[in-house]
C-alpha cells in the first residue's frame, strides 16, 4: 500500500464529512444574524442579503431568563458530571477486581439495564412517589448519574490497563482500598475519565426531557428545555390555530432568527469543552476498546 495514493481519497472523504457537519452550523449562524423580514421573504440562505443583530439584542434584553436557564444547565452539568464520574468509576473499579465476590451478578445486573428500560411510567413514579424530587434540581441530576454503558467501558479500562500487580504492590506498601483507589487508580485513569466525562457532559447539557417531565417551576428550566419548549410551543400553536380556535387566536411564532440565535448560544460550552478533552478522548476510546 502506497500511502501517497490512499491519502487523497481519505482527505476528500474527510473533507466532505466535515463539510456536512459544518454547513448546517454555518446556516444556523447566518440565519441568526439575518434580517427577519429578509428571511421571511427569501427563505434560508447561506449569505443573507441583509444582516441584523436584532436577535442577539433581543436575547440580551431578555437575558434574565436565559442566564438563569444557562446557570441551571451549567450547575446541573458540573455537579452531575463530577458525581457521575465518582459513582461510575467506583462501581467500575469494584467490578474490575477479581477478588470481588458479587462481580458476576452485578455485571449481569448492569447488562440488563443496558438492554431493557423500566419504561416511562415506573421511571416517573420512582422519582415522584418514592424519592419525591420533582421540581428540584435533584430531579435533573439523579436520573443521569449512572449508565450501564459507561460502567462497562470503565471496567474494561481498569481491567486492561491497570496491572493487578500494581494494586498488590500498593497494598503491600500499606495502602488500604480507598487509598489505593484515590492515589493509584484515579490518577492513572485520566483518559477514560475524560472520555466518560465528555459523554456525561454532553448528555447532561443536552437533556431536556427530564425537565419536561419533572420541572414545573419556571426558574429551574434548563437551557435545552427552554429551547425545545420554544420550538414545540410554536408548532403546537399552529395546531391550535388549525384545530380548535382560529378566529382570534393571536398566534405568535418566535422569530426565526431568535430561534437560531438561541441555538448558537446553547452550543457554546460544548464547543469550548471539547478541544481541551480531545487528546484524552482519543486515547480513552482506544485504550478501553482493545481487549488484552
Amino acid at each position: 500500500m502506497n500511502p501517497k495514493r490512499t491519502n487523497p481519497i481519505i482527505v476528500i472523504v474527510l473533507t466532505l464529512f466535515s463539510l456536512a457537519c459544518l454547513i448546517p452550523f454555518w446556516l444556523v449562524f447566518m440565519i441568526s444574524v439575518a434580517d427577519e423580514n429578509w428571511v421571511t421573504a427569501h427563505g434560508y440562505s447561506f449569505w443573507p442579503g441583509k444582516f441584523s443583530l436584532v436577535a442577539y439584542q433581543y436575547l440580551i434584553e431578555d437575558a434574565e431568563k436565559i442566564l438563569r436557564a444557562y446557570s441551571v444547565s451549567a450547575l446541573v452539568t458540573v455537579i452531575g458530571v463530577v458525581v457521575s464520574l465518582f459513582v461510575t468509576s467506583a462501581m467500575a473499579y469494584a467490578l474490575s477486581r477479581k477478588e470481588f465476590p458479587l462481580r458476576g451478578a452485578l455485571s449481569f445486573y448492569i447488562l440488563i439495564t443496558m438492554l431493557f428500560s423500566g419504561g416511562l411510567l415506573p421511571w416517573y413514579l420512582v422519582y415522584t412517589r418514592f424519592l419525591h424530587v420533582q421540581d428540584t434540581l435533584m430531579a435533573l441530576i439523579i436520573p443521569g448519574l449512572i449508565g450501564g454503558f459507561n460502567v462497562i467501558i470503565m471496567r474494561t479500562f481498569f481491567t486492561n490497563s491497570i496491572p493487578p500487580s500494581l494494586i498488590d504492590s500498593s497494598q503491600i506498601d500499606g495502602a488500604g482500598e480507598f487509598r489505593t483507589y484515590f492515589s493509584i487508580i484515579l490518577p492513572l485513569s485520566l483518559p477514560v475519565m475524560a472520555t466518560i466525562g465528555l459523554f456525561t457532559t454532553v448528555s447532561y447539557w443536552n437533556d431536556w426531557f427530564t425537565s419536561l417531565v419533572f420541572i414545573q417551576n419556571e426558574k429551574l428550566f434548563s437551557l435545552q428545555y427552554l429551547l425545545t419548549k420554544t420550538l414545540m410551543n410554536a408548532s403546537f400553536l399552529q395546531t391550535i390555530a388549525n384545530k380548535a380556535y382560529s378566529s382570534t387566536a393571536q398566534v405568535t411564532t418566535p422569530l426565526e432568527s431568535i430561534r437560531m440565535a438561541m441555538a448558537m448560544i446553547a452550543i457554546g460550552p460544548l464547543v469550548l469543552v471539547f478541544p481541551f478533552l480531545q487528546k484524552y478522548f482519543v486515547r480513552g476510546l482506544t485504550v478501553g476498546a482493545v481487549k488484552g
Partner: protein, 524 residues
C-alpha cells in the same frame, strides 16, 4: 454450548425481571386512584375544605400564584358554602401530551382537565382516565345546561358524557384574505366571489403576477384543498371517510372516500395550474412557514384561511378583517367562501373533563359550573387582577400604563378554553361586539346542522387501517395541496395506495356505524 446455556439463563431471568417490572407498573397505575379516592369521597358530604386542581395547557405565567390567591379570596367571599379553593396548574403546550399522560397513568391528583379530540380525548376515555359526567351535570351544572344543553351528543362515548364543551362560537367560516392596498390599486371587482367559488380569484392572481414582481399572488401554506375543500363539500367522519354534501340529496347518507369526489379533482387541478403559472410560492411546504408573516413583509396578495367572525357575514361579502388587519399590519379584506354547518368535531375541539383521580368530582363540577355563570371569576382566570394585570378602558381590557404583554406577569389568550366565553370582556383593539357577533353567528350555524351532527365514529375496529392510510397519504397529500404534483397522475396512485392500506374497510365500517346510528335516531 457453554454460550447457549449462559444465554438461555440470561433470557429466563430477563423475562422474569421484566414481568415483575410490568406487574409493578400496572398495579401502581390502577390502584392508586381508586385507593385514594374512596376515603375522601365518603367524607365529602360534610363539605370539608377542598382544593380543586385545574390542569390546562398554557405558557407559565409569572403571577400565577397571585391570581390563584385572588380567585380563592373571591371564592371564599362569594361562595362560602362551597368551601372550595382552586389550584391552577398550567402545563406548557409543548409538554402537554407527555405530561398529562404520565399524570393520568400514575394517578396524580387532577380534578378539572382541559381536553379535546386533538389532544387525545378518545384515548383518555378508552383508558378510563375520565369520569362520566351525566349525573354530576344534571345535579350541579344548571348554568352549563342553560347554554350548552343541545351540544352534548358529540362528547358522549358509549352513551355517557365525558366532556363539557366550552360555550363559544359553534363553527367558523373560511374564505380568502386580500391585501386591500392591491385590491384598490387594480380596482378589482370582488362581486365575482359571490359565487363562493375559489376559482373566481384567478383573474386577480393573474393581474398581480403580471404587474407586481416580488409579490406572491397566493400565499401558502393555506390552500383551497385544505381550508376550503372539506368544509364546503363534506361532512367528515374520519380520515378519508366522509359524506359528500354537494349535489346529493339531503337524506343521502352514503359514505364515500373524500378524495374521490369530482370537486376534489377540480380543485387539485386548479392548484396545480396555479402552481405552474407561478401564483403560489415555491417554498410552500417548508415547515414553520407563516402566511401572516409574508403578508406582514408585504410579499403577498391573497391567501385562503379561516375568517374573523363578524355578525353579518355572508358568502362573497367583502369586509375589513379586524384581527386580520392587526396580524398583517396592514388593511386586509376578508371574503368568506363558506360558513360552517354545525359539526360534531367542533363540539369536541374544546372541552373540560373531570379526571378519575379527582377526590371530589362533585365540587369539581360545581367549580366548572361557576365558570359558566360568574363573570368576575372567569375574568380573574382570563385576565388576572384588575389594576395589576389589566385596566378597563371603555369596557374593554387594556394593559396597565407602562406595561407590555411580557412584563405584566399575567397575560394569556386562552379565553377559548374555559367556561362561557360570551361572559368575557374583549381586549382593546378587538371588536367590542365580538361576543355579540358570536351569538348572532351561532344562530346562523346552529340552524344549519350537518347531516350527521351527533354521530361519533368509533375508530377502534379499523385502528390499524387508519394508520396505514395516514402513511399512504403522507407521500401525496402535501404535494397535491401545494400544487406541486399533477393530480391526473398522482390521485389514481394515491387511491390505489389507500385501497391497499384498507380504505374500503374503513368506509364500510363508517357506513355500518352510521347506519346503526341513523336507525337509533330514527332518521331512516
Amino acid at each position: 454450548m457453554k454460550w447457549l446455556k449462559k444465554s438461555s439463563a440470561v433470557l429466563a431471568s430477563l423475562m422474569l425481571t421484566s414481568a415483575v417490572a410490568a406487574g409493578c407498573g400496572g398495579n401502581n397505575a390502577s390502584d392508586t386512584p381508586a385507593g385514594s379516592a374512596q376515603p375522601d369521597g365518603a367524607a365529602s358530604s360534610e363539605l370539608k375544605p377542598y382544593e380543586v386542581m385545574m390542569v390546562f395547557p398554557d405558557a407559565p405565567q409569572k403571577d400565577n400564584q397571585l391570581v390563584q390567591d385572588a380567585m380563592n379570596d373571591y371564592l371564599k367571599k362569594t361562595y362560602p358554602e362551597l368551601n372550595m379553593t382552586v389550584k391552577l396548574n398550567p402545563i406548557d403546550w409543548g409538554a402537554w401530551s407527555d405530561k398529562t399522560n404520565l399524570m393520568m397513568a400514575s394517578g396524580d391528583k387532577m380534578d378539572l382537565l382541559f381536553t379535546a379530540d386533538w389532544l387525545g380525548f378518545q384515548q383518555q376515555v378508552t383508558k378510563g382516565g375520565l369520569l362520566p359526567l351525566d349525573d354530576l351535570l344534571a345535579k350541579y351544572g344548571p348554568d352549563i345546561e342553560a347554554v350548552e344543553k343541545d351540544y352534548h351528543e358529540p362528547a358522549k362515548r358509549g352513551g355517557k358524557l365525558y366532556g363539557i364543551h366550552t360555550h363559544q362560537e359553534l363553527g367558523g367560516a373560511q374564505g380568502v384574505y386580500l391585501n386591500k392596498e392591491l385590491v384598490d390599486k387594480y380596482n378589482f371587482d370582488l362581486t365575482a366571489l359571490k359565487s363562493g367559488k375559489v376559482e373566481d380569484l384567478e383573474p386577480m392572481l393573474k393581474t398581480v403576477k403580471e404587474n407586481e414582481p416580488g409579490i406572491t399572488p397566493l400565499v401558502a401554506p393555506s390552500f383551497p384543498l385544505e381550508a376550503y375543500y372539506s368544509s364546503t363539500n363534506l361532512d367528515s367522519i374520519t380520515s378519508i371517510a366522509a359524506i359528500n354534501t354537494v349535489g346529493t340529496a339531503p337524506d343521502d347518507y352514503t359514505v364515500i372516500n373524500s378524495f374521490t369526489t369530482p370537486r376534489y379533482m377540480e380543485l387539485a387541478k386548479l392548484t396545480n395550474k396555479w402552481y405552474k403559472a407561478g401564483y403560489i410560492n415555491k417554498d410552500a411546504l417548508t415547515p414553520g412557514l407563516d402566511a401572516w408573516k409574508k403578508m406582514q413583509a408585504g410579499k403577498g396578495f391573497a391567501f385562503v384561511s379561516d375568517m374573523d367572525i363578524l355578525a353579518d357575514m355572508e358568502i362573497g361579502k367583502a369586509d375589513i378583517s379586524p384581527n386580520g388587519s392587526i396580524k398583517a399590519g396592514r388593511e386586509m379584506l376578508q371574503i368568506p367562501l363558506n360558513i360552517d354547518r354545525l359539526q360534531t368535531g367542533k363540539m369536541t375541539a374544546t372541552m373540560y373533563a373531570i379526571s378519575k383521580s379527582s377526590e371530589d368530582p362533585e365540587r369539581a363540577m360545581k367549580l366548572l359550573n361557576l365558570f359558566y355563570k360568574d363573570k368576575e371569576l372567569l375574568t380573574l382566570f382570563n385576565f388576572g387582577i384588575e389594576g395589576k394585570h389589566y385596566v378597563l378602558k371603555d369596557g374593554q381590557i387594556a394593559l396597565p400604563e407602562g406595561q407590555t404583554t411580557d412584563s405584566v406577569g399575567y397575560y394569556h389568550d386562552i379565553m377559548w378554553q374555559l367556561g362561557n366565553q360570551m361572559l368575557n370582556y374583549t381586549r382593546v383593539g378587538e371588536d367590542p361586539n365580538k361576543y355579540k357577533n358570536y351569538e348572532k353567528f351561532n344562530e346562523k350555524i346552529s340552524s344549519n346542522r350537518s347531516r350527521i351532527f351527533g354521530f361519533v365514529f368509533d375508530p377502534e375496529p379499523v385502528k390499524n387501517e387508519l394508520i396505514s392510510i395516514d402513511n399512504a397519504n403522507k407521500t401525496f397529500v402535501d404535494g397535491l395541496k401545494s400544487g406541486q404534483l399533477d393530480p391526473e397522475e398522482v390521485v389514481p396512485k394515491m387511491l390505489e395506495k389507500q385501497k391497499t392500506a384498507g380504505a374500503d374497510k374503513v368506509i364500510a365500517e363508517a357506513q355500518k356505524q352510521l347506519d346503526a346510528w341513523l336507525k337509533e335516531n330514527s332518521k331512516k
